[in-house]
């Protein structure tokens, strides 16, 4: 035992209402096995402050040390009445009082610190939690980001058989524009090319017959692409006719795709999947900590330690915030990789306070689940059946724009919906405080209400 033992008594003595000094009744190795080497063991309590050294408990109780050594196994040490005289010896001076106050407050901080540490360690050692909270959502981001990367610009593959003047004549920028819409591959065999179009390997076949007619044969399997290719080829033919006429065109059309200016798949998926990931982490961490600590009687044990409920809650919230912010950082880093190409706009950092408020709101859901559920399995099921539907309805996985209005109405009351919308706005659409602050306020209000409900349903132990 080391010097910090003196610190041990700090909170205790500070907390003693009557300020009784420990009487230091067992100053040195009075234990039969000499197992208490230091002199700081508190003696029997003497609240009335009487006879600091004279607290001879056994004597006071009027009880002879009635022991029956015969019942002990041979070889087991049987100390008799344990050195009663040792106990009365050398009272230590009462510990100075003033240093106690600051120590008591340090106790609160250290409880917060050590409980936080416990949760971080438990989380890091829980492989499946790590996977589901951190890796799993990230996999979705990578998967969706990759799958839908090209979906925004339908790129067609066209086979060219023989010379086609309108295509062959294109040079420089005009040719680049064409390549953006479709790739032209030259193929010698018409029958083979046709077969590929039928199978869907190619989108269209282009050739020119002797009369100068450009023939485009396409499959209707992908009508969008077929339409796009038809439109482009038609435009090319018109252009060529116009050029052949030698007159400047009277009208011109310039078209631009809106998606390029506004929303790419990654811009939609990053906030959506991030919201889902954060909701999952926060709801589960709060619910499962509560249930498993209650079931393991840890809550009960902590209630017997000088630890405030505030320190327990604060450490849980702190650790969940930490995990959530790490998730956010990973998400944004991955999404902004050139491969996925997320471009952040002006006040994107407002996503951080938004995520913080979101985590607090989702933890309050977890608290309600944890207060109601009796077992980890029940908590798991309840949490999942809240988080998943909420994520779907909040547009985490696909846009709710086309949803029926009653579904949109439901989604309006979900905290995740507002978090996703606001994060999307500040992250990728140049939104600012006006988008973030109302949502943050709403999330915190939601958290306050649900925490209140959880508190009413909460119990420290199974009945």
């Amino acid at each position: 035992m080391t010097d910090d033992r003196t610190g041990v008594r700090g909170p205790a003595d500070g907390a003693a209402p009557d300020g009784t000094a420990p009487d230091g009744a067992a100053p040195d190795g009075t234990a039969p096995d000499g197992a208490a080497p230091d002199g700081t063991a508190p003696g029997g309590d003497t609240p009335d402050g009487a006879a600091p050294g004279g607290a001879v408990p056994r004597g006071a109780a009027g009880l002879p040390a009635a022991r029956t050594p015969a019942a002990t196994a041979p070889g087991a040490p049987v100390p008799g009445a344990p050195a009663p005289d040792g106990r009365t010896a050398a009272p230590t001076p009462p510990a100075p009082r003033d240093p106690h106050a600051p120590r008591a407050s340090r106790g609160g901080v250290s409880a917060f610190g050590s409980l936080s540490k416990v949760m971080v360690v438990a989380f890091l050692r829980d492989r499946s939690a790590l996977f589901f909270v951190v890796l799993f959502p990230l996999m979705f981001l990578v998967l969706f980001g990759t799958l839908f990367k090209s979906a925004s610009s339908p790129h067609a593959k066209v086979a060219q058989v023989g010379p086609v003047a309108v295509v062959d004549s294109l040079k420089g920028p005009a040719r680049d524009d064409l390549d953006k819409v479709f790739t032209v591959t030259r193929m010698p065999d018409e029958a083979e090319a046709l077969r590929k179009v039928r199978k869907g390997d190619l989108d269209a076949l282009i050739e020119q017959d002797g009369s100068g007619t450009v023939v485009l044969r396409f499959s209707a399997a992908d009508q969008v692409r077929a339409g796009a290719v038809q439109g482009v080829v038609n435009a090319l033919v018109q252009q060529a006719n116009q050029d052949a006429s030698g007159r400047p065109p009277a009208y011109r059309l310039r078209s631009a795709q809106v998606e390029d200016e506004s929303i790419k798949a990654i811009q939609f998926f990053t906030p959506g999947l991030l919201g889902w990931a954060i909701a999952t982490g926060a709801v589960f961490s709060a619910a499962l900590t509560l249930v498993s600590w209650r079931k393991k009687r840890l809550l009960r044990r902590l209630r017997l330690a000088p630890v405030s409920a505030g320190a327990i809650v604060a450490s849980r919230v702190g650790v969940s915030l930490l995990t959530g912010l790490v998730q956010t950082a990973i998400f944004i880093s991955v999404a902004t990789l050139p491969f996925f190409g997320l471009r952040l706009t002006g006040h994107w950092w407002l996503a951080v306070p938004l995520v913080v408020c979101g985590i607090i709101a989702f933890m309050s859901i977890g608290l309600v689940v944890g207060a109601v559920a009796k077992t980890e399995e029940a908590a798991n099921g309840m949490a999942q059946s809240i988080v998943l539907p909420m994520s779907f309805l909040s547009g985490s996985f696909f846009s709710m724009d086309d949803a029926p209005s009653w579904l949109k109405g439901i989604s309006e009351v979900l905290p995740l919906r507002h978090l996703v919308t606001s994060v999307q706005s500040v992250l990728t659409r140049g939104g600012g405080f006006g988008d973030a602050l109302p949502t943050m306020g709403g999330l915190l209000l939601f958290a306050a209400v649900l925490t209140g409900i959880a508190w009413r349903l909460f119990s420290w132990e199974d009945a």
Binding site: T30, P47, P79, K296
Partner: protein, 305 residues
């Protein structure tokens, strides 16, 4: 001087079960106090009410001069509690567990490690708490209850599941703690343990305290017969009975089961001298009443819930 614990008429009911039915007890400061009783007697419930984690339906409890209910933060650093079933954090090693509990009380890691050593778990510091054997977990749980140097220690069946070595080492530890002036209250099913450790015991059943006193006093009070036994074959049962009757030895029951000749009596002297005269003392055993006899006498022999 205030008693460490003073309880007066505590009652607790769970539905139809009256778990604690008017328990009053006083534990002096520095005393080693035992609560004995069959399963379901209400020991754990009584302890929980004393500790202040369960509210009594009726009655008054004072712990170190203060009321433990509702949760009294001034008392918490002064008491140490070990639950009947251990309560550890998930995925922490034994050392991390005790250090965590220590830090909740503002106690340093060094003290925590020393305590781990004291319960013989120094070599298991890096084993996950949930992977410890039953007895090791029990010891860790006790170490966690003692790490902050409490004045008053509650132990609910601390030696259940321990092997004989661990049990005796723990006895030494508990005696040491008690010798330092700490008050210890424990429940146990092991009567020998109560007899060896406790200054006073209360025998409890059906939520009531049936008898309280020093173990030796309770045994004496029972005034039970002494059983004298020797190897059979040297003296016949009938011969001994006759000899004793001739000597006017009074109420003696003599039996011979083929291996052991035994005589039960309240006055063993004539039996012993009769056996000695016949040189029939081989394998002599004299067994007086123990706390176990007191216990069985008070609580009966039927199974309990």
């Amino acid at each position: 001087m205030t008693a460490a614990i003073a309880a007066e008429g505590i009652r607790k009911r769970y539905g139809d079960i009256q778990a604690v039915d008017g328990v009053s007890l006083t534990v002096e400061s520095g005393e080693f106090y035992g609560i004995l009783g069959p399963n379901g007697a209400g020991k754990t419930t009584t302890l929980e009410i004393l500790e202040g984690i369960r509210e009594a339906d009726e009655g008054r409890v004072e712990l170190l001069g203060e009321s433990p209910w509702p949760r009294n933060p001034r008392l918490l650093p002064r008491i140490g509690v070990q639950f009947q079933a251990s309560a550890f954090f998930e995925r922490l090693t034994a050392r991390e567990t005790i250090r965590t509990f220590a830090s909740l009380y503002g106690v340093g890691a060094g003290t925590a490690d020393t305590m781990l050593d004291r319960v013989g778990l120094a070599g298991f510091g890096s084993v996950r708490a949930e992977k410890l054997s039953g007895g090791q977990a029990q010891r860790l749980s006790i170490a966690c209850a003692l790490v902050h140097d409490p004045e008053l220690v509650f132990l609910d069946e601390p030696t259940t599941g321990l092997d004989p070595q661990a049990r005796r080492n723990l006895w030494d530890l508990l005696r040491g703690i008690n010798a330092e002036g700490r008050t210890v209250v424990l429940t146990t099913h092991y009567l020998d343990e109560a007899e060896i450790l406790c200054d006073r015991v209360s025998v409890m059943d059906h939520g009531r305290i049936l008898r309280t006193g020093a173990p030796a006093a309770l045994v004496r009070e029972l005034d039970d017969k002494v059983r004298v036994s020797v190897e059979s074959g040297v003296v016949g049962a009938d011969a001994l009975r006759e000899a004793l009757a001739a000597a006017g030895a009074g109420d003696v029951t003599v039996e011979d089961d083929g291996t052991t000749l035994s005589a039960s009596t309240r006055t063993p002297a004539p039996v012993l001298s009769a056996l000695a005269e016949r040189n029939a003392l081989r394998g002599l055993e004299v067994r007086g009443a123990t706390l176990e006899d007191v216990f069985l006498h008070l609580t009966g022999r039927e199974y309990r819930a």
